[in-house]
Structures are given as C-alpha cells and as structure tokens.
C-alpha cells in the first residue's frame, strides 16, 4: 500500500494525473459529447457518480472475493459485471428519486458501462494497491477531474466552432489540438503533487 495522503491523491487525480489528459481514458465520449456544454455537464456528473461507487465496490470485490478465491484470471470480467450492475441499479434509483436528473442524464447513464475511464480507474486502483480510503478519494477525484476536463473542453469548443479553422482540421482535428494544449496546462501542475 503506497503511503500517499488521500487528500493529496484526490488533488493529484484531478490535476496532475487527470484520467483523461494524462491517461487517455474515456476519450471516445469525451470527444463526441463535448459538442454541447449541457450534455457534457450531465455526463460528467454521471461519470463522477458511477466512478466513485464502482471503485469502492471493486475494491471490496478485489479484497473479499477475487483474492481469497484466487479468481485473478477472471478479474476483468468481474470488474465489468460490477460496473454494469452499478450502472443498471443507479439508473433505477435515479429514476425513482429524481426523475428530472434521470431525464437530463438520458442516454449517458447506460453509455458509461463502456466508458474506459471507469474500468481504468478500477484497474489502476488494484495495480497500485490503494487502501479503501485512498480508493474512495482516487475514484472521486478522477471523476471530478473527468468532469472538469469535459466541461472545460465543451466551453472551449463552443468558441472554436465559430473561429476560422483550416477546413481539414475542422471538428476532430482542432479538438484534438485543444485537448493537447489542455493536457500541457494540466501537466504544468506536476511539480506540486506526484502519484505513482
């Protein structure tokens, strides 16, 4: 178990080792959804929620099921099933508790099952041997980091769309360049905190 203060881990996973900008996870939805600020916000919220819950659950599954029963070779399948189940349950709970939120999240909630950032965070958590409290902050921080990045990108894209961009670079091209510059800015925090 690495000796990192959970709070440090929290800020590190938002800025210096942002799951999107330094680990490239969750790119597909990042690029396709960030066209609209409103949907980005909804998806960011959903990802943060699912990521925190699944990281904690997968931590428990790893410690109490996978390791004692020596099921390491089934790890990926088990993690994916946990994630799919959480998304399904969360969908039902949100539908009951807050129909407005359910409608605003819409299609994004089920899509999260195949968001690589969720599985990625669980795998990093397992690989780096985080304790329960570290995992909570890591999952939550990564979610917030993802949310922050997608909302920032959506805001920038709204402006870039109206700017004169060379035709072949329009759309995905300029978006990738924007992401690259964002990544550089986020890595700029690296001197402050470091994990791994």
């Amino acid at each position: 178990m690495p000796d990192i203060n959970p709070l440090v881990l929290f800020f590190a996973s938002i800025f210096t080792s942002n799951i999107l900008l330094s680990n490239f996870l969750g790119m597909c939805s990042f690029i396709s959804i960030s066209k609209s600020l409103k949907s980005s916000n909804g998806l960011g919220m959903a990802v943060t929620m699912v990521m925190t819950v699944t990281t904690v659950l997968n931590w428990g599954v790893e410690k109490y099921i996978i390791v004692p029963f020596q099921l390491e070779y089934l790890r990926y399948i088990i993690y994916i099933i946990v994630i799919a189940a959480v998304v399904q349950i969360l969908e039902m709970v949100i539908d009951r508790v807050s129909p407005n939120l359910y409608i605003s999240l819409g299609i994004f909630l089920p899509l999260i099952t195949v968001n690589c950032a969720i599985l990625g965070v669980a795998l990093f958590m397992q690989l780096r041997n985080y304790s329960l409290i570290q995992s909570v902050f890591f999952g939550f921080g990564s979610g917030i980091g993802w949310w922050l990045a997608i909302v920032l990108l959506a805001a920038i894209r709204a402006k870039v769309d109206k700017s004169p961009v060379p035709a072949p670079l329009k759309g995905v091209g300029i978006t990738l360049i924007t992401i690259g510059i964002m990544a550089m800015a986020f890595i700029g925090f690296a001197g402050m905190i470091n994990v791994q």
């Binding site: 680990n23 969750g26 990926y76 399948i77 060379p166 072949p168 990738l176």
Partner: protein, 198 residues
Amino acid sequence: MNKYKEIFFKNVWYENPVFVLVLGICSTLAVTNNLKNTLIMTIGVLLVTGFSNLTVSLLKSFIPGKVRMITQVLIISFYVIIVDIVLRAYLPDVSKALGPYVGLIITNCIIMGRAEAFAQSNSPLLSFWDGVTSGLGYMVVLMVIAFFRELFGFGTVFGYRIMPEGFVNWTIMVMPPSAFFMLALFIWIVKGRGNNNA
C-alpha cells in the same frame, strides 16, 4: 472474393476507425511512445476484434436481443483475458509496461462497434475478416504515430539508436500532449488529401 477486398480497403483506409470515426483511441494512445509496446498492443487489439467478431457472428441467432450488449462484453473480455495471460507468460516486461491498458481493450469502442454494427448481421467468416481489417487499420495509424514519437522522443526506432550523437531528445514527444498533437496532425493531413482528390 471481391467483398473481402472491399471490406479491407474500407476498414484500413476509407473508414479507418481512428481517422474517420475517432473510435478506440483511449487505451492505445497511452502506449504510442514506444514502437514495440504499440505493436504488441495493436496485435492484441487485432486478435480480439477478429475473434470476438467471429464469435458474436456465430452466436448471433442464440443471443436474445435484450442481453446482447452484456453478452458481447463478456465475449470480448474472454479474448482479452487470453491475450493478457499469454502476454504475462511470454512477454512479462511488455505486459508490465502496458499495465492496465491490456485489460482496457475490453472497453475499446472499436471492438464493441464492429460487433454491434457488422458481426450482428453478417456471416462468421466475413465478420472475422472485418474484425481483423479494422484492427489492421487501427494498427497502421498507431504504428505511424508511435514511430514519430519514439524517433523524436528517444531518438530510437524499435530500441535501435537512429538519431545522430548530438540529437537532443524532445521530451514532449513522449509525454501525453504530443499524442493528441500527432493524431490531430495526421487527421489534418489525411483529410486535406481527401479534399484535394475530391
């Protein structure tokens, strides 16, 4: 035979999953700072896409529509686990360098996308070919990106020193932002060419 050729060119060039559809760049952009790792990673993706397409196509009439997604995910994870175990046994250092990214092939959107869009409605052999060529299209792009990143970032190609003695490594090339810049650059070039031809 013509159909196979058509699929090949479509998947590798005209509808290249990375350039045109921008799918599945998540897990592999991370490993493109090194040619060897990229090659092994993309071979893994290629095999998983091919075989999961084949399996989905073989089983398509037995899978109820409602549980289609989760069944596909399970089929994909099955092959990913095989790739992971083989890598761990025969190439332990590469497996370590790739870290969690091998497991993340499961959530690679290309594989899911091909299973859903092609294998569900085509014959097994054709689906297998479609998966393999999709993986090939993916491989070609990532190998080119990895080539430039390794060349400028470390001054090497496949670990062999290429750049002259006095060359100062461009550290930015092996850091995350350059992966985005490189991909953007390639999309720019490819799309620009397309426009000239049209």
